[in-house]
Symmetry: C2
Subunit: 321 residues, 2 copies
C-alpha cells in the first residue's frame, strides 16, 4: 500500500515523458506545454488508489491514470478559452500563448491521446472503462455548459447548483476512483461505493473552496480572498444567502451585485455573516464529507487498506475551518 | 450489393434519430442542430461500402459509420469556430447561432458520442477500430493546424500542401473505407489498398475542388467562382503558379495577392492560364484518380463487387472538366 504522496511521485515519474510526436510541432508543442505546467495530479493518483484498494496496481491502471490526466488537461485548455483566462498555474494559458484556434485543436488532440491510452487496456475491461470514461466526459461538458448558463441567470437554486458542481468537478474524481476499482477487480457494489465516495468528497471540496474564498486565511488559501464576490460568481455561499436573506438584506445584496462598491467584499461578507452562511457552509461541507466517508466505510475491503483514501479525504478537506 | 445512393438512404434512415439526451438542452440542442443540416454523408456510406466489398454489412458497420459522421460534424463545428464561418449548408453555423463557447462544448460532446458508438463494436475488432479512429482524428487535427500555419506563410511547397490536404480531408475518407474493410473481414493487405484508394481519391477530389473554384461552371459548382482567389487561399493552382511563373508573372501575382484589385479574379485567372495551371491541375487530378483506381484494382476481391466504389469515384471525380 502506498500513500498519496508516494503514488503521486510514481505517477509523475511515469507521466513525465513526451506524449506527442515531434511533428506537427505547432500543434503538439502547445499540447505538451500545458502538461509541463504541473499540477497536483489528484485524479490520476485516485485511479491508482482505487486500484490499490482492491489489489496490486496493474500496468493498465497507469494507462487509465494517464488518460484521466490528459482528459483533465484537455478540459482545462478548452475551459480557459471559454473563460478567457490569461493565466494558469502562474504561467500563460495555452490560448493566451498560442492563440484560440491552436488551443482548441491542442485540446482536441489531447482528448484523442487520452483515448489512445485507454485503448491499451486489456479487452476484458476495455468496454466498461470506455463507457465510464465517455459518460464522465459528457458529464463534464454538461457541467461546464450549466455553469455558463447559470452565469446569465439572476438566481440559481441550491439543488441545481449542486448538480452542476457534481458534473463539472466531482464526477471526474469519482470516475477516476471507480476506474481504478474496475481494474483492481472490485465488485460492482464496491465500485459504486468508491464512486460515491469520490463524488461526495468532490462536492465537499467545492463547498470548502467557496467558503475559503470568503473566510479563508489569504496566506494559506493562495488566492485573493473575495475574488468570487468581486466577480459575482454564484457560489454555495451566495446561493444560500439569496435563499435565506430577509427583504432588506436581499435588496442590499442585489444592489452590491449590480453596482460594484469599493467595499463590496466587506459588505457582502457581512451579509453572509448576518445570514450565518459561514456556519451553514461548514455544516454542508461536513455533511458531504460524512457521506463520502460512509461510502468508503461501506466498501467491502478491510479497513487497513482504506487508510490512504482516508488520508486523502483529510488532506483535501480540513476539518478545522 | 448496394449503390451509393441506396446505402446513403439506408444510412440516413438509421442516422436520422436523436443522438443526445434531452438534458442538458442548452448543450445537446446545439449538437443535434448541426446533424439536422444534412450533408452528403459520403464518409459513413464509405464505411458501409468498405464493409460490403468483402461481405454482408454487419450491424457494427452502422456503429462505425455513425461514429465517423459524428466525428466529421465535430470537426466541422470546431473548424467553423476557427474560420469564423457564419454559414454552413445555407444555415447558421453552430457558433454563430449559439456562441463560441457552446459550440466548442457541443463539438466536444459530439466527439465523446462518436467514441460511445465505437464502443458498441464487438471486442474482436474494437482495439483495431479505435486505433485507426484515433490515428485519423489526430491526423485531421494536424491537417487543420498545418492549414492555419500555411495561411501565415508566403509560400508553401506542393509536397507539403499535399501532405496537409491528405491529413485535413483525405485520411478520414480513407479511414472510413478501411474501417468498413476491417469489419467486413478483409485481409490487412486489402484493408491497406482500400485505404490508399480513399486517400488518393480524396486528394484527386481536392485538386478538382481547387480547379473548379477558378475554372468551374458557376451554375454547376454551387460556390462563387474565384472565392479562393479573393481570399488568397493557398490552393493547388496558386502553389503551382508560384512555382512555375516567370519573374514578371510572379511579381504581378504577388502584387495582386498583397493589394486587392477590382479585377483580381480575372487577372489571377489569366496568370493561371498563362502558366498552364489548368492543364497541369487536370493531369494532377487524373494522376491521383488513377492511383486510387489502381489500389482498388489491387484489392483482392472479384471485380463485380467493386462496381459501387468505381461509381463513387466517378461520382466524386468528373473526368470531363
Amino acid at each position: 500500500m502506498h500513500s498519496f504522496i508516494e503514488l503521486s511521485k510514481i505517477f509523475e515519474d511515469n507521466f513525465n515523458t513526451r506524449h506527442f510526436p515531434e511533428h506537427t510541432a505547432t500543434l503538439y508543442g502547445p499540447a505538451q506545454y500545458i502538461l509541463q505546467l504541473g499540477g497536483k495530479r489528484i485524479r490520476p493518483v485516485c485511479v491508482l488508489m482505487g486500484n490499490e484498494l482492491f489489489g496490486e496496481i496493474i500496468p493498465d491502471a497507469y494507462h487509465a491514470a494517464t488518460a484521466i490526466e490528459l482528459f483533465h488537461n484537455f478540459s482545462l485548455i478548452h475551459d480557459d478559452i471559454m473563460d478567457k483566462a490569461p493565466m494558469r498555474r502562474g504561467m500563460e494559458t495555452v490560448h493566451q500563448k498560442y492563440g484560440d484556434s491552436t488551443a482548441l485543436l491542442a485540446g482536441d488532440v489531447m482528448f484523442v491521446k487520452a483515448y489512445e491510452y485507454l485503448n491499451k487496456i486489456h479487452i476484458n475491461n476495455l468496454q466498461k472503462v470506455l463507457h465510464l470514461f465517455n459518460e464522465t466526459a459528457s458529464g463534464v461538458c454538461e457541467g461546464q455548459q450549466l455553469d455558463m448558463d447559470f452565469e446569465k441567470r439572476e438566481t440559481v437554486g441550491l439543488e441545481e447548483y449542486v448538480g452542476m458542481i457534481t458534473l463539472k468537478t466531482s464526477v471526474l474524481l469519482a470516475a477516476s476512483l471507480k476506474l481504478g476499482a474496475i481494474l483492481g477487480g472490485a465488485t460492482p457494489n464496491s465500485q459504486n461505493h468508491l464512486y460515491e465516495f469520490g463524488k461526495n468528497l468532490g462536492i465537499a471540496f467545492q463547498v470548502q473552496d467557496d467558503y475559503l474564498d470568503v473566510f479563508g486565511d489569504p496566506d494559506k488559501f493562495g488566492k485573493r480572498v473575495g475574488g468570487d464576490i468581486l466577480s459575482n460568481k454564484k457560489t454555495f455561499l451566495l446561493i444560500h444567502a439569496m435563499e435565506t436573506a430577509n427583504a432588506e438584506q436581499l435588496n442590499l445584496l442585489k444592489g452590491l451585485i449590480e453596482n460594484d462598491a469599493v467595499d463590496k467584499i466587506e459588505k457582502v461578507t457581512q451579509i453572509f455573516k448576518d445570514c450565518k452562511v459561514d456556519d451553514w457552509a461548514k455544516e454542508l461541507k461536513d455533511k458531504y464529507l460524512q457521506a463520502a466517508l460512509q461510502h468508503l466505510e461501506d466498501t467491502a475491503v478491510v479497513s487497513v487498506r482504506k487508510q490512504a483514501l482516508m488520508k486523502l479525504a483529510e488532506f483535501l478537506i480540513q476539518r478545522d475551518n
